[in-house]
Symmetry: C2
Subunit: 247 residues, 2 copies
Amino acid sequence: MISLLKNRATVRQYSDKNISEQLLIDLLETSFRSSNTGNMQVYSVVVTRDEEMKKQLAPCHFNQPMIVQAPIVLTFCADFNRFTKWCEYNKAIPGYDNFLSFITATIDATIVAQTFAIAAESKGLGICYLGTTNYFAEKISSILHLPRFVVPITTITVGYPASIPNQTDRLPTRSLVHYEQYTDYTEDAIRNMYAEKENLPEMKQFVLDNKKETLAQVFTDVRYTKSNNETFSAMLLSFLQKQGFRV
Amino acid sequence: MISLLKNRATVRQYSDKNISEQLLIDLLETSFRSSNTGNMQVYSVVVTRDEEMKKQLAPCHFNQPMIVQAPIVLTFCADFNRFTKWCEYNKAIPGYDNFLSFITATIDATIVAQTFAIAAESKGLGICYLGTTNYFAEKISSILHLPRFVVPITTITVGYPASIPNQTDRLPTRSLVHYEQYTDYTEDAIRNMYAEKENLPEMKQFVLDNKKETLAQVFTDVRYTKSNNETFSAMLLSFLQKQGFRV
């Protein structure tokens, strides 16, 4: 089990082999055994298999080819709609139209997504997370008909791997762990922990390809820019309000 | 692997057996292999083993006994501090003081927490999540010395189980899954999917003990009240601003 978790890598190219409905439901049922807040299960999963639906979702994920190529796309949603309705039908006054409840449901939906990812990998499937879900949450919700109190949190494409991908680098384990209290990073500590990453041939090429001076600039100027982050923040906050979560 | 995930249950009582530092680091290293956004690894884990530190943290988690009793308490944090510093030391202008970046880091920290939970369970350990982390994020941050751009997201207590706990109920799998588009729930659908839960002897007792008419009222009036949710929402939003994430 540990070796499976240690040796995994994200899979972006899938074979033609389909995933049976029985296996999908078994993996989802497995993921729903995860811990969740107060056993409220404030999440839902939307399964996309239909080619036409995938084509509609693709632009919400920058047209990354996994969306159309994967046999299944799963959108994991924070969902206080079901629970709120249950309260309303049972003489109980729900109070979940707030930011804390949104964060609670976000964490629970993510826990389910990650258990699904691990369960799928244990069955020989490959997965890829799509962080774009938070950028275009409103457009995705419109395509998937998500009602009030339901917000898409993350998306996983899943399929049998076309080939075994290489693992990407990680920062040194110790640099991500703090004992008893957080020890803030000195400049030396930062330079040491990022040195291996910065010196990887593919990272050096990445800097050259993007005509930048440092790897960090590829992130700030190309991949995750301040301008995009601010635009998407405003879009997400506005959408949360529309879905009924007061922020 | 699937059977391990299916048969798991939350463990709230731990034996005296300690967890070796080698095992802890191995589990953390394993969890850091999880998917994360753009390989930025915008999370940190704070390890609490010290008795005095556990006593300080306990009130932030409603003095639930797991905090003091577990050999290890782990606080999983959204962390854009390390990444922002790396940008600043490398002539790159970071733009991560926004809501989207907070959500990105929240999801990444949760994915790591859940992989840790599964890895730990595969080694015979038991875990318990503490959702209280989001209620008292500011107090926890003060105790753990979390700097700007670092926010505690979830906490896991971990130890060898004192006994094997029973599994709690779950809603029927199909009621949590939607195909192609979200099908909103009718009153009949809600009543059907919650019937099994409502009829469990322990849930009926729970309603009686709380002197309520319905199980839903135990949630809205006792466990997760509108008033508490609103108070904790305001506290969390205010703390995010203080930590540098504009909301």
